[in-house]
Symmetry: C2
Subunit: 280 residues, 2 copies
């Protein structure tokens, strides 16, 4: 697990790094970013928040535009931001922006042509946590997870299927019911084949209906988000959490869209939500 | 002066907009961004801070990565971010990234092939202020100006040559003496020809030596900036300000580089510097 440092820059008193490694899961080089707050210099292990990105994004979108460093520095949180898929020549792709490279949907694909490299589920739940734990001062007993859109889907499904691993969970405009919306109705059969049971393992609402639980959950959703009604449908999450007794804080943010102008506005609230639970 | 709205997004309680207009100065379409803080909705005119960007940048770099909106929203500041040059087919360019498109150096070029379109001095000092004043609730009696690198050069020279226009002036890692460093020794003769007198009108240290003054000045400079010794040379600014009696707050920021990871860290300090003077 040799880690190559792509870049490091001092920022908000800490270090924003970008790293590359050869992933055994995807069979490709994978790039991710890690922000170490100033507290990381004293040898102590710090709580870590994972941020999973949305369609078309790499690690760079949130690293450049997420405005998370000031709050993370104040709160003493390490923030890790993976890529959204394997990339490069020899990796399958699709002309559409919602399938293939940049659109891994955090699943282990079983179908051609995706199966050889598209193993983002195992990458973000097993391989990358081992790489991060081996190379950075993270306290793996204090992990939180969040994400945006497809990455919100990733964060919620990963948390639901790893009970106890994450002490704090949140999402920005997540895809909560991919089996019921066009993005997921394309991606899940494409990556996983025709068995609806396989899809339900990657559908937040279905996982909750099938018994998975979270301690509590913060979700922000912009009311001017152009994907709100057709792809995101937070009312399905609200109903599932109500039925299951999961305490959901769902905030409909008036006039906000799907962009990082929205995410960056509420990033501090999310990191404070995580810090409160990770430092309790 | 018809203004086309490229995009608007709610952010930090205000509106981040991007606009395009046909510039008479450059003879091209020009794009710029404006952040309106939440206070802009009540009909009052608000103080405005101009941010001039550096080499290779458009309006988008600082708009995406500058982390200025939270502080601007709190302080009630409008932030305007122009492009760094004319662009497009039919506009002269250079294979190098420090000349031509993306590298206008905030001068009115007199030399071929630049003279027809490279009129960034008149654009940022005359045309764009008129466009902004006509279309946004800016109080033109309360203007501040800042910028980064080549844009720091632009901010300082514009402020020095418009005494009284700007109540607050700051810069991030500015080029302060272009006649004494490689970037300027290429750009100034390239755009302005062989007369050293023309260069001195676009050299902060020379302008101060020749009698121009500022009320006071905040400059942040990273010590790990790879351009520090050869291109930026803040010691020349320190000496010029000391000789002229200009109160300069020059902060050497330990370990910071030339990137937006540096700028975003100290953006709040700069906006507070401006707000203190604009709202006095």
């Amino acid at each position: 697990m040799t880690l190559e440092t792509v870049s490091t820059s001092r920022s908000h008193g800490g270090i924003q790094g970008v790293y590359r490694h050869a992933s055994a899961e995807t069979g490709t080089p994978m790039v991710f970013s890690v922000f170490l707050p100033p507290q990381a210099t004293n040898g102590a292990k710090l709580p870590v928040v994972w941020y999973l990105s949305g369609l078309t994004c790499t690690h760079a979108n949130v690293t450049d535009k997420g405005e998370f460093r000031q709050a993370a520095a104040e709160l003493g949180l390490i923030v890790v931001c993976p890529d959204t898929s394997p990339r490069g020549e020899g990796v399958a792709d699709d002309a559409a922006w919602d399938m293939g490279q940049g659109a891994g949907f955090y699943v282990d694909a079983t179908q051609a042509p995706w199966a050889p490299h598209f193993r983002m589920w195992s990458y973000v739940t097993k391989e990358l946590p081992e790489v991060v734990a081996a190379n950075f001062p993270v306290d793996m007993d204090r992990q939180g997870i969040t994400g945006h859109s497809m990455g919100g889907h990733g964060a919620l499904t990963v948390a639901l299927r790893h009970p106890g691993r994450f002490k704090s969970v949140s999402a920005f405009a997540p895809i909560v019911a991919p089996t019921q919306v066009p993005w997921g109705q394309k991606a899940l059969p494409g990556y996983l084949g025709d068995d609806p049971a396989a899809w339900r393992h990657h559908d937040t609402v279905a996982l909750i209906q099938d018994g998975a639980r979270l301690p509590d959950l913060l979700v922000d959703q912009g009311t001017a988000d152009s994907f709100l009604e057709n792809q995101l449908r937070p009312e399905l999450l609200r109903q599932a959490c109500a039925d299951a007794g999961i305490p959901l804080t769902l905030r409909l943010q008036d006039g906000y869209d799907h962009s990082y102008f929205f995410i960056s506005t509420f990033m501090r609230d999310h990191l404070e939500w995580h810090a409160e639970r990770l430092k309790a």
